[in-house]
Subunit: 148 residues, 2 copies
DNA sequence: TACACTAATTATAACAATTATAAATTAAGA
DNA sequence: TCTTAATTTATAATTGTTATAATTAGTGTA
């Protein structure tokens, strides 16, 4: 399953004329396997065992390459670090405001929002971004304990 | 109309025990009157005529105060500068990917998305964020001209 | 397989947005 | 008016990210 994702991703890169380096292979692999929407720095730290000489710039450069190839989405949060998400199929993010944990969920058909928005603003619509903020169950439970 | 907004905002601050300084008054006034969702730096530059000695830190500090009081929303965009939006009633943003222009639009009832997301993830939901990306009419026209 | 060409990596410095600090100033209630 | 704690200011520090230039290493071709 994730094997296939990796292979597909590498194929996509090849056909776009992007070289497959060991670093790129490792970053992609890590992105696909980790379910945690990591930051560039987390990727960097996770791979420094395998690549002691790798530079942060390499991570950033390659994340940009992947983003431009459509393999990866960047989730931006002000001056906090961006998080990177391997693109599988369309999904949205639920974010815990207490601990920052992000989980995916699917929701069908917000196309009508795009149509509506395009109609009232006159913009030609490309895409949209939806995120839901709340508190995850772990944090809810911890909050409960503190009251006791 | 915007007079009333300003008065209400100042009242809110007063009841929260926040002092009304000339700088705060001016920043709020600028936020309410400008329809452009300014960055902290834009606010700083816009007011440096009135307050030649004001520091950027003051702008940032007060935007945080306003945010915590619920008067202002911060729109974050990765390493680009945050934009600040005076809260009137709920609306969403349509953002031009070509020139960055942001316009507001209203859309009723995405509550069901929140309910759905809460159900599938187990999170307790507080809020959500929706943005639509596209190209504004000005940029569409300019693109047309370049082809000719 | 070896070569050549170009892209990618590395190390480092630069940058820009934001925040922390400490001293000076000031709003607002008594 | 006086007092006091909050706020502002000026500056330095921090953090995420990108630019630069030199070195290294994929990959197509002979």
């Amino acid at each position: 399953m994730s094997e296939k994702h990796l292979k597909d991703a590498l194929d996509t890169l090849k056909t776009t004329g992007v070289r497959i380096t060991p670093q790129r292979h490792a970053i992609l692999e890590y992105l696909i396997e980790s379910m945690t929407h990591p930051t560039a720095d987390e990727i960097y730290k996770a791979l420094e065992g395998k690549f002691p000489n790798m530079s942060v710039a390499t991570v950033y450069n390659n994340l940009r390459v992947f983003r431009e190839a459509g393999l990866v989405k960047e989730l931006t949060y002000g001056d906090a670090a961006s998080r990177f998400d391997f693109v599988t199929n369309d999904h949205y993010h639920m974010i815990c405001e207490s601990c920052g944990k992000i989980v995916d969920f699917h929701y069908p058909g917000l196309n009508e929002v795009e149509q509506f928005a395009s109609h009232v603003t006159g913009y030609k619509v490309h895409s949209h971004r939806l995120e839901v903020y709340g508190t995850c169950q772990d944090c809810l439970e911890n909050a409960g304990k503190q009251i006791l």
